[in-house]
């Protein structure tokens, strides 16, 4: 046993947290770095036998960080299942809820999860690399703005959706609750603040990306040429709630544009024995192993992919930011993984602008919030853009709307293979001749943090924040060093 003792901290294993194992050769260089996700809950199985309208209640429990994404995908799947369209007001309310969610979720990631790497610094003392470090560096006022913006958005979400963590308002053909005129006015008032806050965030980070951390953002250690996938509206603009799925190839040319009902023709999932997560790839290109390029079916989703896959943004200020983004990187597509952070801010602007547009529409308070289904249910499929990427729900029921089959293609699954590539490449670039710097931990973490991965979703099992353990093993497979962030 003794030569096999693996010093894995059960804290990280316990929760099935992200785990990285790095194998070194005899010279101390990286042979291969593995990124493992060790957990599973089996939602697709235990949703069987449930009534269809329970799905928007059950599936948000896949992830308490992005429950609105699952709730909305599920509700739209019920529309499709019962062949009923939501009323125009209901669709607006769902879009409003969705943009509030995108806004608060992106803000969480920008400031609390990833922001510290850039605002406080990637090599800053660990104790300061957090939201409190940000407050220290940029001032309490900004810190309170962050907490306040998120809190306010989540309060509105509770009013509109019933609950913020695990919303309840979605029903086939509409929503359960009408919006009051009073709330609409409050929203409209707050929307300007939200837009200002998004613009402020954009200015703050743009400067950091282009000046202080330019070498990092433009580093080959964090770059992969892959396919990109995202939802677009009828004008090929980024849409979080609905549209066609568009995929561009590593050159940025349209590879496919299809309705969610054709997802089985395009997307396949690969299984590895060393991780619980299934990895999405492009079926027609094929699984060619952990390599990038046009011949490999590995794809990328989430903010960077959405911007790469679209011709622009839906709203004016976000569109300006979109143009500035691609100009800075020398055109579309952008392959730098850390550019994901910038793309996320461009999307935050769009979410804030859309909140204002929707709250400005007097029809949004109409009592006409539901079309009652009259057709027999059979098969339903729907797609949304979760903050972390394209999310597909697919249900089959009997004629009483009892679930028989469920298939879920979840955001982080779509990024899973590319994240493995990123971890491997970052480790190879950073570890040479057995020299393992403590700073490695954070630099490697940055390779996956950019994706804002949610392994609760990916394995339908885990919490969104993943404590990380890194094991360095010598050529005999023995653990010679271990680093962790918890």
């Amino acid at each position: 046993m003794s030569d096999k003792v693996i010093v894995v901290d059960p804290i990280t294993r316990l929760e099935g947290h992200g785990k990285i194992t790095i194998f070194l050769d005899e010279a101390g260089n990286v042979k291969r770095a593995y990124f493992q996700i060790p957990e599973l809950r089996g939602f697709e199985i235990f949703c069987r036998g449930r009534i269809a309208e329970d799905m928007p209640i059950i599936t948000p429990r896949i992830c308490g960080v992005c429950p609105t994404a699952h709730h909305t995908a599920s509700t739209k799947t019920l529309d499709d299942l019962y062949k009923v369209k939501p009323t125009p007001t209901a669709e607006k309310l769902r879009r409003l809820m969705y943009n509030l969610f995108m806004f608060e979720d992106h803000v969480l990631h920008i400031y609390v999860l990833a922001g510290p790497d850039f605002i406080v610094g990637p090599k800053a003392p660990k104790a300061e690399r957090n939201i409190f470090g940000i407050i220290k560096k940029v001032g309490k006022e900004v810190g309170l703005k962050v907490i306040g913006a998120r809190k306010k958005a989540r309060e509105f979400m509770t009013i509109i959706g019933g609950k913020t963590i695990h919303p309840v308002f979605g029903l086939p053909g509409g929503v359960s609750k009408q919006l009051s005129e009073e709330t609409r006015k409050q929203l409209l008032e707050w929307a300007d603040e939200a837009i200002e806050f998004a613009k402020f965030t954009h200015d703050l980070f743009k400067k950091l990306f282009l000046e202080e951390y330019k070498d990092l953002v433009f580093s080959d250690a964090y770059m992969h040429k892959t396919y990109y996938m995202g939802l677009v509206d009828e004008h090929n603009k980024v849409d979080f709630y609905d549209g066609k799925i568009r995929i561009v190839n590593p050159k940025g040319n349209e590879y496919a544009k299809f309705d969610v009902h054709q997802y089985l023709d395009y997307l396949g999932e690969h299984v590895e024995p060393w991780t619980f997560v299934r990895m999405t790839f492009l079926k027609k290109v094929g699984w060619k192993g952990f390599v990038d390029g046009e011949d490999s079916g590995i794809l990328c989703v989430a903010p960077l992919a959405r911007l790469n896959a679209a011709d622009g943004m839906k709203t004016p200020i976000a569109q300006e930011a979109y143009e500035e983004f691609f100009e800075a990187f020398g055109g579309r597509p952008v392959h730098y993984t850390l550019a994901m952070h910038w793309a996320r801010i461009v999307e935050t602007i769009q979410a804030a602008e859309r909140i204002k547009e929707l709250a400005s529409d007097p029809d949004i308070t109409s009592p006409d919030i539901r079309n009652i289904p009259t057709e027999k249910p059979s098969v339903g499929m729907a797609v949304v853009e979760a903050p972390r990427g394209t999310l597909i729900h697919h249900y089959e029921t009997d004629e009483n709307g009892i679930i028989q089959k469920v298939n879920l293609i979840v955001a982080t699954q779509n990024n899973a293979a590319r994240i493995c590539l990123s971890i491997d490449k970052a480790a190879r670039s950073l570890i040479k001749n057995g020299q393992v710097d403590e700073g490695l931990l954070n630099m490697v973490e940055m390779a996956f943090r950019a994706y804002d991965p949610c392994h609760a979703c990916a394995t339908h099992s885990l919490p969104g924040s993943i404590p990380l353990v890194i094991e360095i093993r010598n050529s005999k497979g023995k653990v010679i060093k271990e680093l962790r962030n918890t």
Binding site: G64, K177, G268
Partner: protein, 331 residues
């Protein structure tokens, strides 16, 4: 940090992360909590390792709040360690308290789940029938994954639990109440549900005034195909709302969203089996002749009783939803 402040730990097992978000939703009130206690362990936010917990004296932690159900062997190890080190263990949230939604998986076993996830799912392309293994030989060496149990268990089926905080997730107010109850001079009796109310969700529901003393209906309706009057008690409209048998304290969030209570806060005091209570309540409001056909007709819109009344509590039910296994493999 003052030494007199009690030490508090937060930990998660098989959960969605919603309970963590619920604590984060205390927002600026987290700062007030920190004035009262020292948070010594909180993987999502505080930089403490397992070794630090191991080094502590037994009982040194005042209270550990543990969310999530028990699905993996390592979760069991960790909660056992926390049990030793903590004066009080608090099962925080529905999964820890009652198994939660993940415990619906107890109607199936590991094999069925693995078969679907890694083989039968229409997107999976896995001709070699690869499945994740606890030990895997790769070219470069050996990798490990944890063991996936056959069933999901509640926290108190694994360790002794002192108090329960209900909710999926508990609201910020309930969380705050629970903390204050623990810090008060007069501790609640062991085994209590803390932070929430002793009365039902109906008592907090804005539609309660439209509910007569005795609700009687002739049949249940499906939400999927029923138009709801937002100003009228949902039970009167035939929607199976579990407010009357569910512990309050959430502020009737779902009914305020014009949707039925689905029971995430669990049973009221003295009720052994939430689902049993809920189903007998639903039966009691049916006003139909005691004939088989009439009764079946009245309940034809309740095709999934398990998902209805044990949505959050199958692991804690007297039935447990256990599967008779074909050939061992149980934990």
């Amino acid at each position: 940090m003052s030494k007199e402040k009690p030490k508090v730990a937060f930990y998660w097992c098989a959960s969605c992360g919603g309970c963590e978000e619920a604590v984060v939703d205390l927002a600026e009130e987290v700062l007030k909590v920190i004035e009262l206690v020292d948070i010594v362990f909180w993987p999502v936010a505080v930089d403490t390792k397992r070794e630090d917990i191991e080094k502590m004296a037994d009982g040194e932690i005042f209270a550990s709040f543990i969310n999530g159900a028990i699905r993996l062997s390592e979760q069991e190890d960790m909660v056992k360690l926390l049990r030793r080190k903590s004066k009080f263990i608090i099962a925080y949230g529905s999964c820890s308290y009652m198994g939660g939604i993940p415990a619906l998986a107890n109607m199936w076993n590991r094999e069925t789940i693995f078969n679907w996830v890694y083989s039968e799912s229409p997107t999976v392309m896995n001709p070699d029938k690869t499945t994740p293994k606890t030990k895997i030989e790769v070219k470069e060496g050996e990798l490990e994954l944890p063991l996936f149990y056959n069933t999901v268990r509640t926290l108190d089926q694994v360790i002794e639990v002192d108090y329960y905080v209900p909710g999926c997730p508990p609201t910020p107010q309930v969380t705050k109440n629970a903390l204050l109850a623990l810090l008060s001079d007069e501790l609640p009796p062991k085994g209590s549900v803390i932070g929430a109310l002793s009365k039902s969700v109906c008592e907090e529901c804005p539609l309660n005034e439209t509910k007569p003393d005795k609700v009687l209906i002739d049949s249940f309706k499906r939400l999927a195909v029923t138009k709801i009057d937002p100003e009228k008690c949902l039970l009167l409209q035939g929607i199976p709302c579990l407010g009357p048998v569910t512990r309050g304290g959430c502020g009737a969030l779902c009914p305020n969203g014009k949707m039925p209570c689905t029971g995430c806060f669990g049973p009221l005091d003295g009720v052994l089996d939430y689902g049993g209570k809920a189903i007998s309540f639903l039966a009691s409001i049916l006003d139909v002749p005691p004939e088989e056909d009439a009764v079946l007709k009245a309940i034809e819109n309740l095709p999934d009783p398990v998902g209805l009344v044990y949505k959050y509590s199958l692991a804690r039910s007297l039935l447990r939803g256990r599967i008779i296994k074909k050939g061992g493999g149980s934990e």
